[in-house]
Symmetry: D2
Subunit: 344 residues, 4 copies
């Protein structure tokens, strides 16, 4: 197959590093450019000794500027940049015809007012919001095929939206009853050099944070509302736990009157029974981080509690793979017409 030239902007963070790990073994692409604010001029293997002896180990980081990506002849660019920083890259790249897969939050929220509410600033490029496609292939595969701008979904949102989407779409559960607790590994905070992410502060520790209005609620509720055909507002509490990788999500919801647990299961089966990267564990199965670590799988199990009537949905993913770089590569594969598991 004809190689597609690919670039990564912001390749020194954890998502960028994971993108490199995956793209090294991708037979359809040529990595032509990696950018970095702090490491420009250095070789990949200097910044990441783990990549010594691998393809691209001698590739040098370019300055953090879209012109570098364009000059390198990239046809697709991954943006692994902080929110706010990605939008100007996207604008410049799209203008010259480079397709963009953005891993930041910049193009996930369709409504600029919601972006302002949750991110506390004006959206930097509101005109692009209409054309961006929310990057979960299991939900937007058709749109992704021809997308120029993909807003690859967030780590928590992927783990929350996928279990709930079919149940809301089939009107099987009461949207107002949804309560979500998630546990995330520390890499979810990015390579953030702050005291709270030091080893000594995270080890033998755990804590809830961002209560009650974590930023990821914006995209979670946007997608759940789209599924339900009505405005959905939920509780969502993220917790930091001492693992490097992984998100574990536990969801409570009340089925609508007369809805059986089997109906819920059938909705999940119908939606995801053929999906490669969603593994339905059903009513007997379980989810745990170790089963999805370093993979692009999202595992889903569920239980019905006859005592309270609620259904409990549990999901597990690797936040750096299905929750970030893996899903971005899955999006790339859909955009380029390749088999979805390529390099995953």
């Amino acid at each position: 197959m004809n190689l597609v030239n690919v670039a990564i902007a912001g390749a020194t963070g954890y998502s960028g590093e994971e993108l490199i790990r995956l793209l090294i073994r991708h037979p359809g692409i040529e990595l032509v450019c990696v950018t970095s604010r702090g490491s420009a001029g250095h070789r990949l293997e200097e910044v990441f000794p783990r990549f010594q002896g691998h393809k691209y180990s001698e590739l040098k980081f370019a300055a953090s500027d879209p012109s570098e990506i364009i000059a390198a002849g990239a046809q697709v660019a991954f943006l692994a940049l902080p929110h706010g920083a990605a939008a100007p890259f996207a604008e410049a790249l799209l203008e010259t015809g480079v397709r963009v897969i953005d891993l930041s939050a910049d193009f996930r929220i369709k409504d600029a007012a919601v972006y302002r509410e949750f991110y506390g600033e004006e959206h930097p490029a509101p005109a692009l919001l209409r054309e961006s496609v929310y990057g979960i292939p299991e939900l937007y595969r058709a749109e992704l095929r021809k997308a120029q701008l993909v807003a690859s979904a967030g780590c928590y949102p992927t783990s929350v939206i996928l279990p709930l989407h079919p149940l809301l779409a089939a009107r099987l559960i009461d949207p107002a009853s949804i309560v979500v607790t998630s546990l995330s590994g520390v890499s979810g905070a990015g390579k953030n050099v702050a005291a709270e992410y030091l080893y000594v502060e995270c080890n033998e520790n755990a804590r809830p944070y961002g209560v009650p209005k974590h930023r990821h609620l914006a995209e979670i509720e946007q997608e759940l509302s789209a599924a339900a055909g009505e405005r959905v507002v939920i509780n969502f509490t993220p917790h930091l736990i001492p693992v490097t990788r992984g998100i574990l999500t536990t969801i409570y919801a009340m089925p609508k009157t007369g809805v059986t647990p089997q109906a819920l299961n059938e909705a999940l089966e119908e939606a995801y029974g053929e999906e490669i990267f969603i593994r339905l564990q059903g009513e007997k199965g379980s989810v745990e981080l170790k089963n999805v670590a370093h993979s692009n799988f999202l595992d889903i199990a569920w239980r019905h509690d006859p005592r309270t009537g609620r259904i409990i949905l549990m999901s597990a993913e690797d936040n750096l793979v299905k929750g970030a770089a893996g899903q971005a590569v899955q999006n790339l594969n859909v955009m380029c017409g390749w088999a979805e598991p390529t390099a995953l």
Copy 2:
């Protein structure tokens, strides 16, 4: 003060070890007997090298039999035994006038039918259920003072019951709306030599378990129902996370119509404002495991979500201290009329 002779049955598990750690520095007691099935005849410092050079390091483990405790002249006995094994000890000890602080589940459930439902077997000593006192001093201090048999509360239950009790007692929240997620360190499983608790299986992993009907629900719902004056049934999902110590609990509940967040806070303040071991962090504060590790504190913080109307209560404790051995010693202090923080 006159020393009280104390024994520990089952002193080689994690709760037993923690009891020893605390009792070593207790000025009011003399540890006269420790029992063990597997280590009888061995000195304390042989089984626990960490206790070398400490008081009692040369004390020898006795066989696991109540007669050993009686022969040693114990006036109070802690039972750190598996459920089912504690009841016969309690019966034999109480008969000879030894006061019993049981850390197992054997005497926590007042209703033998509920015990059977959750533990799958007949209660071994139903006659004693009436006289046992549920061992959370903040709730049953008066009864504990003269108790002969104390059922020291479970680790999860302590972290769930204490935040909810005043709100239910004051009829401020809707009992049917309660949903609880807890995260526990691996010592919560006891010194259970099973593959699932191996380092390699727990490290870099996390998982929900016991869904939807964990055994601790029995005592949680019993105490919440007592507080609410009506039968309370809730959802509770425990999760295993890779820390040695600590329980972090996140609770969702809907205030009753017209109840303000301030009213909820006042109920917490009124109930626990003077309590030494409950630290109210309020609406701005936070909870995390590192703040309570190795201490007998339970920290409680809360948030109100105006978008959904729910209140979110968060609590943190050390499962081996406030969730087990520390609370047992606190119970001892109440029973003996000592200052509650003694040795804590």
Copy 3:
């Protein structure tokens, strides 16, 4: 290429699981049989939920008997069995022409008397010792190509032998001066359900063990002696540290009179400069576990201390990959004439 039928005996341990992970993506083989004492009759994905959705996920474990492997038509068998258990499998398999790659210690020691000294029992199949090839491709590539029985090297030995071999072979260091300290992750103990490997016992802990005569000394000294052309006896102290994967080794040795640090470096470069899986970090570089985790690389760095005259060699590997399953697959690739990095 023509697929080679492969079997794994003892596929439920950590090395067996890692072999499966690697062989799933090996284009030259067909996995036709996996055996297990405890899980016979169960599908791979039942025992290892992480392998759901992967090739071979429906393969059923056969009973732990060489006849199962022969009946399945295997041409090569990996033995991931405890020492002592592997030998009878090897005998039976070799007799019918199945090539064997043994990951246990059974065929690593050429001298049955040394085996007895270190393992405390008679060697179960001494006649096979002559024909087995010690499985480190960087040292025995030619012999491995036609080997029928490969004794894949141990985890510690690989990390100790490879840095020292060229220096001893070139007579650059004094054998009597060698002192080695190694740190190993807990998976190095295998899936050993014993109290000392529980999460709570290993977390926030570290300890030396097997001092001063760990079993791996037998093969370490055998290979160092072969390199040096004289009997080499060393000190080697393994330590258990709380990581799942990885071995970090620090070696001290005194260069012979007149030998410069540069001569030592040249010997390493000459021996390994062209090796794919040995990455020489030189005098300025460093080694750490994260750079080799989940890979088949062995990293080597060194320093010279002009104050004492000693050289310090440091190596890092993933004990389950280059220290076990990865090296076994590398051996397979050599045996079958495939590119060494295949599936690695």
Copy 4:
């Protein structure tokens, strides 16, 4: 007893926090001042929520200036400051008669030239070097009693010097043969907000560092030389491992001709048999971090290897207690004539 007024300079680092933890339960002192560059004006419980509900929780941090300590009426000051920053504090405090226990490296090295060699700068107060006492009570108890300036020993040095001191003093081992490997928890790096100490970088990782000339060699060799009566130069390699607390040290040395292992053991027994905080585990015992965590004990075990002739000494301590704050409090107790275990 009459309370002694105590201050801590630099109380927000890990050693400072540990000092607070210990001094809270010290019956002989009153903590009158804590200083901080970044947290001046804040209450102790704001900076360390774990200290809520404890004595001193409302104490406010003063600015980082010796005049604050003097104004508060301190009679003894602990300096938990970076090296270089402690010396000016010590000068100002000693001038007004405040006794100083410095936890930094500033007054450990008696020879200003050695300080310059290892720390790369001129010593800031060379005149004070003569009067400072090296703060290991087991070695300098008599001098400590009347010391005005104590240089509390470093974490690694304590774990290396104590096992070797009696053997060198009795001329039982060859100084040139000494090789030391140490493993340290991450808190040993202090509250250093740098990328290399992030959770994600340290978890599932381990690495040697500071090879071959770590700064602590200066004080290690100074004290070993003093013991041996000749200049001792050794190899010492520290390793970072993923635990919060603890140092594990493994030492190799060759006994002098004719010296038996029993003679070595007797030297250890004679030196430390009566010491409260040194626990000799002998030839059969073992050391591990969990046995000394949160305590002021240093455990020492040893083995003789008849194959190489070397002795292997192993020690374990909590780097924040016996390796820092605990030893500093032990020094305080000696200086004030109190029982050494007070508050420990």
